[in-house]
Amino acid sequence: MVSFQPSEEQQLIRDTVAAFAKEQIRPRAHEADETGQVPSDVIQQGWELGLVLSAIPEAYGGAGDTHSALTGALLAEELAWGDLSIALHLLAPRLVAYPVLEMGTPEQKERILAAYTGAQFCPGTAAVVEPRFDFDLAELSTTAERSNGSYVVNGSKCFVPLGAEAAHILVYARTDGREGYEGVSGFLLDKGTPGLKLVEREKNMGLKALETSEIVLENCRVPAENRLGGDAGCDFAKLMNYSRIGLAAMAVGVARAAFEYARDYAKDRRAFGVAIAQKQAIAFMLAEMALEIDATRLLTWEAAWKLDKGEDATREAYLAKNYAADMVLKVTDNALQVLGGHGYIREHPVELWLRNGRGFAAFEGLVMV
């Protein structure tokens, strides 16, 4: 039966994370962006909420909660509302833990998951995007070729969150020359694997506080048992759907932050004898922002709901992510515009939100829900 009411448990999670984002994340966002550093104490506090990897089963030391993309979307939106860099940092371990949880061999679950159930935050990540303008998930350039009991991986990856420090990196590669999403496998690499080289910490327009790295794989030998899912491989398309939903949800969070800030500013700022919010040009921009944020959220929820039901949600997740990328650019751009000259100054957060917002069009695989 159609309903738009989150469950009580989901609402509790949402409220908890929203409060954490408001009280702990947001006040540190500006400094994090300026210094290029995510505050580790905020990450540790976020970790201690116990929500990042609550879906790890008790057998592996986790809380054993049901994995729900919809709940993940609710949580991701609130974290991103606080700050996108901090949110992506906190959620990064999911990039390796969730695929292993859902598609890993028993041995892989045994070996990998334990690192992410401790009291301390442990960085983990995945390498998806490649440094070319026409990057396409359906046509990766990174390759893996079977060679006796190993795979030899070659290629470059960029936008790898926490690439330098991650205990494990899940590298996605086109395997044995096969085509499309079906031809992609994931390879679980420990930190320091020979042939895995850190090129440099990236400098991006946004996400400045988040450590993202470019890495290169040069004849990197990976034992066959470290191929995600073993000989059965993994469902890369499904994993990318989880990530599309997560990104769409985070875009909603960033957009909502920008809208609220612009709305409050417009009610306060006076020109021509009235608050600028009382002028139709501004009021209509704000109204459109509010409408499109709600619209995007519903598209994202529907994709997540479908995925949670076990159905193929490629179309919905893909459409939602693209819609969200367009929306967050437009909303953050309009928010900066509402603040006029002041919007251009880094003392106000709207220009940061625009720098982050523009990124969604290029982001893939940076988060899992």
Partner: protein
């Protein structure tokens, strides 16, 4: 729990209505678009008989407090999408209580609801209409100039109303009625505006024109002149008092919280018809829409199609949300306006782009696509223009009164 699956009951209703839309509406859609002022009586009689025996579909709001879960508004929304998928003009032409009935349901006393609405459950087909717009004012409904003057046991109504949907059928061709907005005290502005029920055959109410329109041609859109039209005192909806506040005006405006999602649903049905038509044409031509491929590699055609799809679905979900809120008894002015604004935008975008994409096929009157573009446009206008709905959204999100944001 968040859920996007229609209940089995609503899904059954949807399928039943879809059959009617496909088998009874589509085959006559072109004919009644071309023969603008003729009525498809077989279809209208059939729908009248169906509606009298079904309590599931309803078009009105209600002042009654909600007790327990309802699916009335969700059902209506889904039904309207399906009917409009069939033909939006024919849907609007269906005999029913319509907006006029919705006003009585929202603002009338139990006695009035019995007196005016019971007729829709029996006898011959009937229509009710709502007359608000005047030659000089549409969006600015507070500027209405039609007057209602108390004279003993009657009100005397004078004025001219235009763009009255089903106005001809309600005022003259059936035992229906027209709800007229008129002012009892011009100096009081909004607070002086009241709604009056004028039954068919009342002397002084005359249909002077039936419009020739761009679309929804099967629906009659009338000009109605009121000249010393006398109605019983008891035909006023709500209190005759002119209070210092605008309670009465707001009461009837609240009707729109229920009817805006309904119009949005109609827009979505039209948009869906157009989208499906395009998809079928692409399928026939062997053109795939490649979900999952990098955006930059898609053809313009694919991107346009995906844009249409996403916008239409966004409109649908906003409309479902507004309808669900009505069923839950939640105030939904913001959400209702969002759904109407988005649906109007989406149907315009989808149908206009569809005609463009299909080239000569889109432009030809051999196919229904060009008609759907013409039918779709009105949804961006009536029942609150897109601009008015954006204004309402703006006021709500800014917590401004209409004085603070005009």
């Amino acid at each position: 729990m968040i859920d996007f699956e229609l209940s089995p009951e609503i899904e059954r209703t949807r399928q039943m209505i879809h059959m009617a839309a496909e088998n009874a509406m589509r085959p006559i859609a072109r004919e009644y678009d071309e023969r603008e002022h003729e009525k498809p009586w077989d279809f209208l009689n059939m729908m009248w008989n169906v509606s009298r025996s079904s309590s599931a579909v309803s078009f009105g709001g209600s002042k009654e407090k909600k007790t327990g879960p309802s699916i009335r508004f969700m059902t209506t929304t889904v039904a309207i999408e399906e009917l409009s998928w069939g033909d939006a003009g024919l849907y609007l032409a269906i005999p029913n209580a319509g907006l006029g009935g919705a006003a009585v349901a929202a603002a009338g006393t139990p006695e009035q609801r019995q007196r005016f609405l019971a007729r829709f459950t029996e006898g011959e087909p009937k229509w009710a209409a709502m007359a608000i717009t005047e030659p000089g004012c549409g969006s600015d409904s507070a500027a209405i100039t039609a007057t209602a003057v108390r004279d003993g046991d009657h009100w005397v109504i004078n004025g001219e109303k235009i763009f009255v949907t089903s106005g001809l059928m309600a005022a003259e061709k059936s035992d229906g009625f027209v709800v007229v907005w008129a002012t009892v005290d011009k100096s009081a502005g909004r607070a002086g505006i009241k709604a009056f029920v004028v039954e068919k055959g009342t002397p002084g109410m005359t249909v002077t024109k039936v419009e020739h329109k761009h679309g929804i041609r099967a629906s009659d859109t009338a000009t109605i002149v009121f000249e010393d039209c006398r109605v019983p005192f008891d035909n006023i909806l709500g209190s005759p008092e002119v209070p210092k506040t605008t309670e009465g005006f707001k009461g009837v405006m609240a009707t729109f919280d229920a009817t805006r999602p309904a119009v949005a649903a109609s827009a979505i049905g039209i948009g869906r018809a157009a989208l499906e038509f395009v998809r079928e044409a692409l399928d026939k031509a062997g053109i795939k829409i490649r979900y999952g491929v990098a955006l930059k590699k898609l053809t313009t055609l694919e991107r346009d199609f995906m844009d249409m799809e996403a916008n239409l679905q966004a409109a649908r979900l906003l409309t479902w949300r507004a309808s669900w809120m009505m069923d839950e008894g939640l105030r939904n002015s913001l959400e209702a306006s969002m759904s109407k604004a988005k649906a109007g935008l989406a149907v315009t975008k989808v149908t206009q782009k569809a005609v463009e994409l299909l080239g000569p096929l889109g432009y030809s009157r051999k196919y229904l696509l060009e008609k759907w573009m013409r039918d779709g446009k009105i949804n961006d206008i009536f029942e609150g223009t897109q601009q008015i709905n954006m204004l309402i959204i703006a006021r709500r999100i800014l917590d401004y009164s209409s004085k603070e944001l005009s």
